[in-house]
Symmetry: C2
Subunit: 335 residues, 2 copies
């Protein structure tokens, strides 16, 4: 480990995982934390609950398709939905840089209120800190959330099984690509906007047709490649993807090629990975196809026994290449 | 309202309350949030729970008596304890400035782990973000927490009643004073260190002898004066304090006089205000006196009917002066 924290430690990729293993798990170790899912599963007197937290430091604060406030609500709601929970309550903690226009704060807060309403969650507690100019960049938001897990729902990144199919609920890379374009003020004429969206209602409807689903997870920081690697390691299985099946918009693919980036590592903020037995694929795809956020859902691969902990990409020419976790940081402050 | 966010908006005083009323309550309005306590009270299937969040931006990160990590655990645990809850689960979200020594992060995390163990809470979920050098100041930590409220416990800032007594569990102003000394590197020879401590075990023992207590709240940002003003407004009552009864260490009083500050507005991080019927005072004081964190507990005043929403200080000479909420910001980034 390097001696100072670098941007790569916050990438969501390999170095983030190393930091979590070597420091956070070392001192915070307990049975619930070690489950290693996006939400902690709590056994409460009245049933199972999910609890999750996320801090948002995205730059710029306003972007095509959303803003830091909408993202903060969707991000935490989606983490709860990934555990199959019905999101119920959110907290929000603001760290604001002195000098932020009150009008900007109001836009962000209004957007959080509207998004919470759409998701059916209540923001029930909060905190506001202000730091001197230069001690933070505009505004950072933490949202933590609690949801309840319906009877019969049993999901975890550890439950992928050989033979399972892998669905992604839509085209990948839009969030990362859109932020990159805004931030670098690249003069590329494009229609790409962030896919930032809450997915809890869609997940509810999916679980309404079948509870025979093994893993749900949203491929945010580190992108589809990193999230699938996490699942492969957590479940002790291999994952084989079909290159031509991974849905990517043409413009996203073009911009990535131009800039030497890979959409597989670009962040998504409105997509879900669903890993499920083949028998559940048809009913789940039927539900997804009727959803705005699921219309472009595709089966992109399958779970295999070996090589355990690895993600392979089967290319159109029949070759196999290893798809690793994100190493370094493709794009800092993406969420 | 000014057009940009100022440090005073984060003081915990008057401008923080104005911001909460004019923006957060406007867009997030719901029955639970509007209770206006440090923790939200949730009616869960298995009983009552408390949910709270706090972001910590204290500077310096390491100080006499603690560090940002210990503070982050104690602060959230104490907010839960203020609702009478048994703290159970914490989340933690780190925002780290690129370049932070990994050794500093490890010290902070170790301290969080140790403090969590002492409090009997589990840190069950977390998040790590890293921002570029200059986009944050060293490290900010959000902790959110969940606790369960035992049967028969019913506390709120809205429940103070005329005739109630007011206890503070120890000498005030040490946290604020100690941070001020460290930060300004004032060459004052002093023994003052932060009172940063978790109070949940003490609160449990207090509630073990009587549940006939109306309000618990920890006087952090904005100090005793601001917190009592909050309670007076929330309960629609007046509060009369006895000047000579408010416990302040001699060295804290001296430094405050030297610098023109008032200990009544200095932050505390290991003190609790307890408002309770006179009949509960003796049993509660008996418990407190046996506790390390309660040995200097004093009855400092009483709840009166009028003037509603006001805090008065009865001076030794028999006069009454109004003690207002903190206006402006006495000391930014105190927690």
């Amino acid at each position: 480990m390097t001696e100072v924290i670098t941007l790569a430690h916050g990438s969501g990729g390999k170095m983030t995982h190393d930091l979590i293993d070597s420091i956070f798990f070392k001192y915070f170790s307990n049975d619930i934390l070690m489950q290693g899912n996006d939400s902690a599963l709590l056994d409460l007197p009245g049933g199972k609950a999910a609890f999750t937290t996320d801090s948002f430091v995205i730059s710029p604060v306003f972007f095509r398709g959303g803003n830091i406030g909408k993202l903060a609500v969707c991000g935490t709601v989606n983490d709860l939905a990934s555990s199959g929970a019905i999101p119920m309550y959110l907290s929000c903690g603001f760290i604001i840089e002195e000098g932020l226009p009150v009008g900007d704060l109001e836009k962000i807060v209004r957007s959080m209120g509207e998004t919470a309403m759409e998701c059916g969650v209540k923001i029930v507690t909060g905190d506001t800190k202000v730091v001197q100019k230069g001690a933070a960049d505009k505004v950072f938001i933490n949202t933590s959330g609690i949801g309840f897990i319906p009877e019969g729902v049993c999901l975890s990144g550890a439950y992928a099984k050989p033979g399972d199919s892998i669905i992604v609920t839509g085209t990948i890379g839009e969030h990362g690509c859109s932020i990159l374009l805004e931030r670098e003020m690249l003069e590329i004429n494009s229609e790409i906007s962030s896919d930032c969206a809450s997915l809890n209602k869609m997940v509810e409807r999916v679980l309404g047709v079948t509870k025979d689903i093994h893993v749900l997870r949203d491929p945010t920081r580190g992108g589809l490649a990193t999230t699938l690697n996490e699942i492969a390691k957590q479940s002790g299985v291999g994952i084989r993807l079909y290159d031509e099946k991974v849905p990517v918009r043409e413009d996203v693919r073009g911009i990535c090629e131009l800039l030497g980036l890979d959409p597989m590592y670009m962040a998504n903020e409105g997509k879900m990975i669903i890993i499920l037995p083949q028998s559940s694929v048809e009913p789940v795809m039927n539900v997804l196809k009727r959803e705005k956020q699921g219309a472009n859902a595709c089966v992109i691969g399958e779970v295999i026994a070996e090589p355990a902990g690895r993600v392979l990409m089967k290319t159109v020419t029949g070759g196999n290449r290893i798809v690793d976790m994100l190493v370094g940081d493709q794009l800092p402050r993406i969420c």
